[in-house]
């Protein structure tokens, strides 16, 4: 039972992280598209518990900020206007999990805006954008990985189980897919599509494209497992007793691939999140003003942003706990599935 513990730990961590992103509307204080043109590039606002007179406050508060006269991005705190932080406040409307109309937010303020992680070029709240952006990026990653695994296991099982020319053909196609320069093909593909695609269409495009690109590697892994399993004695025996192909696959062969597939899933999801970020970074993903992690990072392409506004890097930091949890999960899964292999690992590194 001891080796189960890291697995559950990572799973719980991932569940919490995804829960926060899924309920972005609740955790984000503002609408991610709402511009506040009086505060472009506002640095993260400072939380205070002790005011300028030295009095301690139980309720954390902020000082209101305003643009310094004649400047574009220099802000000053107003010492006499405090903005107390309130919890469970009513704010802009949103749909919880995309379904439930709701307007309750974890925190907010009644007399002014608080930008915990600062604001972007249009004065949009960076924290809200990171949370909402996660919805796009993570969903794209999960759906893309799901699609890839589906295609991969389909092709891999067919190739491994049928063998012969089908196996040859599918594996050559897989090699071709591995060799193609995908980024450039994507650019070409984008040129054929209609000019203005809605955010939803763009999102689906990203999912389909990333999903169909990556199937070759899992397909080869699944094929390997299927090839070895179908020669095992219990499979031969079942066939000898007259089991049909479908029964064999369902009952004996496919269950053997689950450990490979689940490990692959844990490795692929962060990869696909990264793929979405790359595409959005290059302008092929979800269009402005809808946030995604790649979109948020695209601002860093400008040198002036790079050297002036450090809080624009924060979306890059956000992905770290996610990737860490996914990779931890992948390790734990591997350990769980093949403990003897890990313990006695010398030179065969499992993929």
């Amino acid at each position: 039972m001891t080796r189960r513990r890291p697995l559950t730990r990572w799973l719980i961590a991932l569940l919490i992280l995804h829960g926060v992103i899924a309920c972005a509307g609740f955790f984000a204080p503002y609408d991610p598209l709402e511009q506040d043109r009086q505060r472009p590039y506002l640095p993260p606002m400072r939380i205070h518990v002790v005011d300028k007179q030295g009095h301690f406050h139980f309720r954390p508060f902020f000082y209101a900020v305003h643009l310094r006269e004649g400047s574009f991005d220099q802000f000053e705190e107003e010492a006499n206007t405090t903005v107390p932080m309130r919890f469970f406040v009513r704010g802009p409307r949103y749909h919880l999990l995309g379904l439930l109309p709701c307007s309750l937010h974890l925190f907010g303020a009644e007399n002014g805006r608080i930008n915990l992680l600062g604001s972007d070029a249009y004065g949009r709240d960076q924290l809200s954008r990171i949370l909402y952006g996660g919805q796009v990026s993570l969903l794209a990653g999960l759906l893309g990985a799901g699609l890839t695994l589906l295609l991969g296991s389909l092709v891999g099982t067919t190739a491994g189980y049928c063998g012969g020319w089908r196996d040859e053909f599918l594996m050559r196609v897989a090699e071709l897919f591995l060799a193609l320069p995908w980024l450039y093909l994507l650019f070409a593909l984008r040129a054929f599509l209609p000019l203005a695609v809605s955010p939803l269409e763009a999102f689906l495009l990203v999912v389909v494209v990333t999903g169909t690109v990556g199937w070759a590697r899992p397909a080869r892994l699944v094929r390997g497992v299927v090839l070895s399993v179908k020669e095992r004695d219990f499979v031969r025996a079942a066939r000898g007793f007259g089991a049909s192909n479908v029964y064999l696959l369902r009952r004996h062969i496919l269950p053997e691939t689950t450990s490979v597939l689940s490990t692959q899933a844990a490795i692929l999801v962060p990869q696909f999140v990264l793929a979405e970020m790359t595409l959005s970074f290059l302008g092929l993903g979800v269009p402005e003003p809808v946030p995604s992690w790649g979109n948020l990072l695209a601002n860093l392409q400008q040198y002036s942003v790079l050297v002036s506004y450090w809080w624009m890097y924060l979306p890059a930091l956000t992905i770290v706990p996610f990737f860490l949890a996914y990779l931890g999960l992948a390790n734990a899964l591997q350990e769980y599935a093949e403990p003897y292999k890990i313990e006695g690992r010398s030179d065969d590194s499992p993929t």
Binding site: L195, P289, Y303, S304, S308
Partner: protein, 599 residues
């Protein structure tokens, strides 16, 4: 009777003639080129007396495509050629007025049809060959030759007929026009005078278009500008050296230019140019965006940044008003019904927060626009055009007048419907390489969302964007900018004439599509022939008025011209006209002498 004499506007520059004693001693020590000999009629420039020597390094956004003024169309080529060639009459980029250049004086006949230009005597091309009237005749013969396809040709056709040129004597040339030409002597600005002795044979062979590329050996190249070709390293730099025969001198009689070398580095991205300037690799930086300008401003070390004020660039939003009958989808036809409605365009204009565009896109270093003429163009701007601030109420009222209505959408926001109950949604194209315009479009998108319009911003590579706008005409709306090269209204005549290729909302029309376009056509033709500035101004003011009323282009904002230069560079007086920083390159010098500037 209008006669301009070759009097230099000495006092127009508010410059003091700085004269330090060590500058004197350095001159003799550095072996300054000989003083002008008496037979040469040099042009004397006011300004600080500089120190000779040194090498000035600037960066170019791209490699120039050619060194041939007959084929140059791109900005880098024009900028380089500007430092290597000279014209008969030149527009002073600081005063925006004409000044004598290769022609020391000119006379315009009372009927305005005959221009008599007198050349300076004793001038030489950069290879030492003398200049005379035959070179001028040759130059204009080439420009007017249809088979050469020179871009200058269009400017030399007046009243449908090409200008004829003849020579009176070796120093006097007469230009005969078929019709009066409002531009007057400004016509000659930018018309580089070519060396007949080098080009005549190539011209007769019909190969002039392919001549004078970047790979031309320096000895086959000659010009009348302050610098001449020295070396070209593909992908890296173009080195120009001082033209020892240049025909300008400073107030002390020293022959210009001061600099020994002018180096153009090819640095493709704006950010990389900033880094090069920050590290001291380049001496002058121009064409800066506001963000990079403030980055440089924050840590000024040994250089000074200057905000010259609004330039001539105007950015605008326009809708597809092309006649697409039978050629487009029913959806497009529907959209065009809105776009053709003047109240719709006025409503869009009223809803746009121009002040926010200036503040967020240009960080306050720009000017909001309600017409195509920017505040930087003091001579031609129509001050009486109304500049209403943003008003959503007015926009809603205009839309209601035009039959639009609102309904509540699924998320509680109101959505705009047209008279047929169709949702108002369209896309705005912007150039993906221009972050400023993409930002403008994003702000416009948010402004229009408040009217209930669904707008999408589509960044597109510039070339395919231009192709869509002028060729295939498959677009809804577009944000673009035009940077006029001269303050005169004629420089943009192609934009305003309905037959013009740059008449972006509906280019190259056979007949003007609307009454107001007809009126603009007539006014532009009239101002072209009107003899005086006042008469031209009156007509151009009316053109600006018509544009403001009909909003074929919804003018947004104009950026300031932002430049920077090392503190050691003397005579640095950036202007709002191109080339912003290098227009007086012959007068630029290093205050600390050539030893320190050598790298």
């Amino acid at each position: 009777m209008r006669a301009a004499k070759a009097i230099l506007p000495f006092r127009r520059f508010g410059l003091t003639l700085l004269l330090s004693c060590f500058a004197f001693s350095a001159q003799s020590a550095a072996g300054f080129p000989p003083q002008a000999n008496s037979r040469e009629e040099l042009l004397t420039l006011p300004g600080e007396i500089g120190r000779p020597g040194g090498r000035l390094v600037v960066s170019l956004r791209a490699e120039p495509k050619t060194l041939n003024p007959l084929t140059a169309a791109d900005t880098p080529s024009r900028e380089v050629i500007g430092a290597m060639q000279a014209d008969l009459v030149h527009i002073n980029r600081a005063t925006q007025l004409t000044e004598p250049a290769l022609a020391k004086s000119w006379k315009i006949s009372p009927d305005g049809l005959q221009y008599t230009l007198t050349l300076r005597k004793g001038l030489r091309f950069s290879d030492g060959q003398p200049l005379d009237a035959d070179d001028v005749l040759f130059t204009f013969r080439v420009y007017l030759d249809e088979s050469v396809h020179a871009p200058q040709r269009d400017l030399l056709i007046v009243g449908g007929k090409p200008i004829t040129v003849r020579k009176l004597d070796a120093w006097t040339v007469v230009f005969q026009l078929a019709k009066t030409y409002g531009v007057g002597e400004r016509l000659f600005d930018g018309m580089a005078i070519l060396p007949r002795h080098l080009l005549e044979k190539t011209y007769q062979d019909g190969k002039l278009g392919q001549f004078w590329t970047l790979s031309t050996p320096p000895n086959q190249w000659a010009g009348l500008g302050p610098f001449r070709l020295k070396e070209y390293v593909p992908g890296q730099r173009l080195i120009l050296e001082r033209n020892p025969y240049y025909w300008k001198s400073d107030a002390k009689g020293n022959r210009l230019p001061y600099l020994d070398e002018l180096v153009f580095l090819f640095v493709s991205s704006a950010d990389a140019q900033v880094l090069r300037f920050q590290s001291g690799e380049t001496d002058i930086i121009s064409r800066l965006g506001a963000e990079n300008f403030s980055v440089l401003l924050r840590e000024q070390r040994g250089y000074t940044m200057t905000d010259v004020g609004p330039g001539l660039e105007y950015n605008f939003l326009f809708f597809n008003l092309n006649d697409l009958r039978n050629k487009s989808s029913p959806e497009m036809e529907h959209k065009q019904k809105w776009f053709h409605e003047v109240k719709f365009r006025q409503a869009v204009s009223a809803a746009i927060d121009r002040e926010a565009i200036v503040r967020l896109v240009y960080q306050g270093r720009g000017a909001a626009l309600w017409g195509p003429v920017t505040p930087g163009n003091r001579r031609w701007v129509n001050p009486s055009i109304s500049r209403p601030s943003r008003s959503l109420e007015r926009a809603r009222w205009l839309l209601k007048e035009a039959g639009f209505s609102w309904m509540n959408g699924p998320n509680g926001e109101s959505e705009l419907l047209d008279s047929d109950g169709k949702l108002v949604e369209f896309s705005i194209l912007t150039s993906s390489s221009n972050a400023d315009r993409t930002k403008m479009a994003t702000l416009v998108q948010d402004d229009l969302k408040q009217l209930g319009m669904h707008v999408q911003v589509v960044p597109l590579e510039l070339r395919s964007l231009i192709d869509r706008v002028t060729q295939t005409k498959e677009y809804d709306a577009c944000v673009l900018g035009i940077a006029s090269f001269d303050a005169d209204p004629n420089s943009d005549i192609n934009v305003w004439l309905s037959s013009g290729g740059m008449h972006l909302w509906n280019p190259s029309q056979a007949h003007p599509a609307t009454a107001w376009e007809t009126e603009i056509d007539n006014l532009m033709e009239e101002q072209l022939a009107a003899p005086s500035y006042e008469q031209r101004k009156k007509r151009y003011d009316r053109v600006q008025q018509i544009l403001a009323e009909n909003q074929p282009m919804i003018f947004l904002a104009s950026p300031d011209i932002l430049v920077g230069a090392k503190n050691v560079i003397g005579n640095f007086h950036p202007a709002v006209l191109e080339p912003y920083a290098l227009w007086n390159v012959e007068q630029l010098y290093f205050r600390n002498g050539p030893e320190k500037s050598a790298r």
